[in-house]
């Protein structure tokens, strides 16, 4: 009960603060204060309170993660700024021009994607140990401080059977990102091409494809994937490479249903345009209609979907790995790593360093997701800017 009273009291106090602040501002006679609604004033008061709260939290010794998050945010911002600055002054003129108009978020996204790509491609050279190497000391705490249970040889610690987490994170980029990217591309190729085809041809082909997609979507996707992978594992006869290949194809097919629906609905809006009619009356073939007339105009929503779909594929692979049919155990995968190290999260209150272990692969996923979406947002913005 007293909690509710507290909440009400705090809200009332904020409202009072907002009202008082507005009244004070109105004394100055400025237009902005005169036309300000009470709701807006309340919002400003809330923002002020949140800022003060954050400053207070910063000084608390227990709020380790909060400080790390803020520091991480600041470092990211500075890195992105420096990256954009470099881009504006180095390289060919066309590239520089792009960088000049780029928002900071997009620069950050591009930086993240470049770093991930470099790490994934050169994983074998960068990683200090092999991803499958069992190095003896198990459950070494991240941080490399012997007093806290760390080991300078393993800066991010080791897992339960003594594999180096840093190395596994680096190899994970190769496995997880590579597979997720390939899967998403395949899903887009399948769903996009069929969706646009259904939109252009219409009639029975559209009915057939759309109803087929409805059937696929009616089955819960994870269970369906699991079922298909069980069948596939029999075909693969234990060959790890084949199993991974089947997994990519199966997830791509299941995810392509969403892409199909989007591509079809966007395509239907474009097919009725006069320029498509003009192309049809010219006698153009299906290839020209889909890839020259329609696809370039459907690019913006499809790209946005790509950013989102990429993240979902990521998570699907992680959950399949969790169930034992995804990326197979000795290979490092961020989803599997989160699951393996999950129980350490319980120590967060006593030993922040210990709880960091499962958060690192999660952070790796989150950072890439944010980066990809920043870049996609920027591309969308540019695409829509050209239209007007």
């Amino acid at each position: 009960m007293s909690v509710w009273l507290w909440i009400v009291a705090v809200l009332a106090a904020l409202l009072g603060l907002g009202w008082a602040g507005r009244a004070l501002g109105q004394l100055s006679g400025r237009r902005r204060f005169r036309d300000m609604s009470l709701a807006e004033a309340f919002g400003w008061a809330l923002a002020l309170a949140a800022l003060l709260g954050a400053a207070w939290l910063w000084t608390r010794p227990g709020a380790v993660y909060f400080r790390w998050a803020l520091i991480g945010f600041a470092i990211s911002a500075v890195a992105a700024f420096v990256f954009r600055l470099l881009g504006r002054h180095l390289g060919p003129e066309r590239l520089r021009k792009q960088f000049r108009k780029m928002p900071l978020t997009a620069a950050f996204g591009i930086l993240v994607i470049i770093i991930y790509a470099v790490v994934a491609i050169f994983a074998g050279w960068i990683a200090p140990h092999g991803q499958e190497a069992v190095l003896g000391a198990a459950n070494v705490v991240p941080g490399g401080d012997p007093a806290m249970g760390g080991d300078p040889a393993f800066p991010l610690g080791t897992d339960r059977i003594g594999r180096d987490i840093l190395s596994r994170l680096i190899y994970g980029a190769q496995n997880t990102v590579g597979l997720a990217f390939a899967t998403t591309l395949l899903a887009f190729f399948l769903g996009g091409a069929l969706g646009l085809l259904a939109a252009v041809v219409g009639g029975w082909l559209d009915q057939l494809l759309s109803r087929g997609v409805d059937v696929l979507m009616a089955i819960p996707s994870l269970i369906f994937a699991l079922l298909l992978l069980t069948i596939a594992s029999v075909w693969a006869e234990g060959a790890r490479g084949w199993l991974t290949f089947y997994m990519v194809v199966i997830i791509a097919v299941i995810d392509s249903t969403r892409v199909f629906r989007l591509a079809r609905s966007v395509g239907i809006g474009i097919v009725v345009m006069d320029y498509v009619e003009a192309a049809k009356l010219r006698g153009e073939g299906m290839g020209h209609l889909v890839f020259r007339e329609i696809l370039p105009n459907a690019m913006a929503p499809l790209l946005a979907e790509f950013g989102l779909r990429f993240c979902f594929v990521f998570l699907t692979i992680a959950s399949l790995s969790f169930l034992g049919v995804g990326i197979q155990p000795p290979l490092a995968d961020w989803g599997t790593m989160v699951r393996d190290l999950a129980q350490f999260i319980n120590f967060a209150a006593f030993a922040p360093m210990v709880a960091l272990a499962p958060l690192l692969p999660a952070l790796a996923i989150a950072l890439l997701t944010v980066g990809v979406n920043f870049v996609v947002d920027w591309m969308l913005h540019r695409a829509s800017g050209l239209k007007s």
Binding site: R31, D35, A278, A279, K280, R282, G283, E284, S388
Partner: protein, 547 residues
């Protein structure tokens, strides 16, 4: 007495490419009580922006950067949101161009009508409802007691525009801003709306700003006319003076636009094979028959105008000819040979011979292709030209449509003006080297000066290349300017057809007569005379018929 609205040195800027560009540059405007001021100019002249600024309002991405707007002594640019809110709807009302887009489709018309008086506390719901019926009656809407209980999609466009005017009147405002209220309507419907608006403004002594690009319309409505050109005032004068003695060159050029007139070509010899003949075509969308027994011929080198109101089947005829809509019965012959019904069955050369130019150049050009790609594609597709030969041919086509290849070759459609886009559409049709071009309302989305340029271009191309045109339009001024023969259509039938001069001389078919007499003329007394001729009662009935 102070004027009702006084705008001094108003400056408005719009934001694009991260910079502020001037839209209105120092316009003065004074509006007395009970006066109607007409604002005219081409699109982009800042008419609508100025109209909204008269309410102290600027759209998103637009800001009022200087000057003053005084409404009845109150400076709207310095007024608080609360003060402005108490004026909007109550003393200042706004009627938008598209009533269909301005009404909320989920609510009944009368519920939307009574909202303003109830919110402003002028009348309660019941009284407002009764008042609405009274206004509907004054605006000569059919069945005024019950029409308010319909949803917006259940009444016609012209009625909706009058409902909107009634709604603006609901609080008996001092000032109404009409932003092109009849532009989207057919000529015959336009008359009803014009007459209704003028009556009601007269009756209540309301002041109004009437924004339009149609000179003949503004001549009927306004006491004074102000001409705008790219955000500046050209001149202001009382209507009659402005029409008879325009002072500025620009105004004179606006007035002269309607002067373009092409003499009718001599009739073809009786034995000639027509380039296209439509023979007894009946077509339907599903069960709805839209064309019934249409027949007409187009002879080589001639222009046939197909006229009629929207919904009369003009564009459907074009769809049958191009093969997009296979007819239920009847044939289309090209140079005496029957064309296959569907475009998929036609050969490449048959498709090449008939090209189309569309009404909305915005949707007719692929926004992701450059001008050179758009024009180059048919050249490559039909003639197989590549590389330098292709480029030379594209340049030649661009010269023909009077666009400089060096400047425009690499532009995207979004970087072109409306008239330039339409020219690119023409070039794309020419690139196929057709014998017949179907022009579907090609000038109706353009300003008069630009439209005239397009008509002159089409006439020149016809002389040079011996093209035949089928010209679909609802604008009889265009027909007068360019046609050799006229086909009049009404609800899917051909009502009358013949040579242009014959068609424009009485006696006419009654429907042709209605169409012809509905075209506004540049004479301020035209509407009065017409209404007197037709009788006001007859007008009300005409409105009921069209439901």
């Amino acid at each position: 007495m102070t004027p009702l609205l006084e705008i001094r040195d108003l400056r408005i800027e719009g934001r694009s490419d991260e910079k502020w560009h001037p839209i209105v540059e120092g316009v003065d405007l004074t509006l007395g009580r009970g006066e109607v001021l007409g604002l005219i100019g081409e699109s982009g002249a800042g008419k609508s922006t100025l109209g909204l600024a008269a309410m102290g309002y600027a759209r998103d991405g637009v800001r009022i950067s200087g000057g003053s707007v005084r409404f009845d002594g109150m400076d709207l640019l310095r007024a608080s949101t609360e003060q402005k809110r108490s004026l909007m709807g109550r003393r200042i009302a706004y009627v938008a161009q598209s009533a269909a887009a301005s009404f909320n489709p989920a609510h009944k018309l009368i519920d939307q009508h009574v909202e303003a008086p109830v919110r402003h506390g002028i009348r309660d719901r019941g009284e407002s409802g009764a008042d609405a019926v009274e206004l509907y009656e004054k605006l000569r809407l059919p069945d005024p007691d019950r029409i308010g209980f319909r949803y917006p999609h259940q009444v016609s466009g012209g009625q909706l525009q009058r409902m909107m005017t009634a709604m603006a009147m609901s609080c008996r405002p001092d000032l109404i801003i009409f932003d092109e209220p009849t532009t989207a309507l057919d000529v015959t419907t336009q008359i009803e709306v014009l007459a209704a608006i003028r009556d009601i403004v007269d009756q209540f002594g309301t002041s109004a700003i009437y924004i339009t690009h149609d000179l003949a319309v503004v001549a009927q409505m306004a006491d004074r006319i102000k001409v705008l050109l790219s955000g500046r005032e050209v001149e202001t004068a009382p209507t009659r003076e402005m029409l008879t003695h325009p002072r500025e060159e620009y105004t004179k050029s606006l007035w002269a636009v309607r002067g373009f007139h092409r003499p009718e070509k001599p009739a073809p010899a009786p034995g000639d094979t027509p380039i296209l003949s439509v023979e007894g075509v009946t077509a339907a969308y599903g069960r709805q028959t839209v064309l019934e027994e249409i027949s007409f011929d187009i002879h080589p080198g001639r222009t046939v105008a197909v006229v009629g109101e929207s919904g009369s089947g003009k564009s459907t005829t074009a769809r049958v000819i191009t093969g997009l809509l296979p007819p239920r019965s009847g044939t289309v012959r090209f140079e005496g040979e029957a064309l296959p019904a569907g475009y998929r069955q036609r050969g490449k050369d048959q498709l090449r011979q008939i090209q189309m130019i569309y009404q909305m150049a915005d949707t007719a050009l692929n926004p992701r292709q450059s001008v050179a790609q758009i024009i180059g594609r048919p050249v490559r597709f039909y003639r197989g030209l590549r590389g330098r030969a292709l480029r030379a041919r594209v340049d030649e086509l661009m010269e023909q449509i009077e666009l400089d290849p060096a400047t425009f070759r690499d532009r995207l459609p979004g970087e072109l003006s409306g008239g330039q886009k339409q020219r690119v559409g023409i070039a794309r049709a020419l690139a196929a080297e057709p014998r017949l071009i179907i022009c579907d309302e090609v000038t109706s989305a353009l300003d008069q000066i630009v439209a005239e340029g397009i008509l002159r271009l089409l006439a020149r191309l016809q002389d040079e290349l011996g093209l035949s045109y089928m010209f679909i339009t609802h604008d009889l001024a265009t027909v007068k300017a360019i046609a050799d023969e006229v086909v009049v259509m009404q609800s899917g039938r051909v009502i009358e057809q013949g040579a242009k001069t014959a068609m424009f001389t009485p006696p006419h078919h009654p429907y042709t007569d209605l169409l012809l007499s509905s075209v506004p003329e540049m004479d301020p007394d035209w509407l009065d005379r017409l209404l007197a001729e037709r009788g006001v009662e007859g007008l009300g009935e005409a409105a009921t018929d069209r439901m």
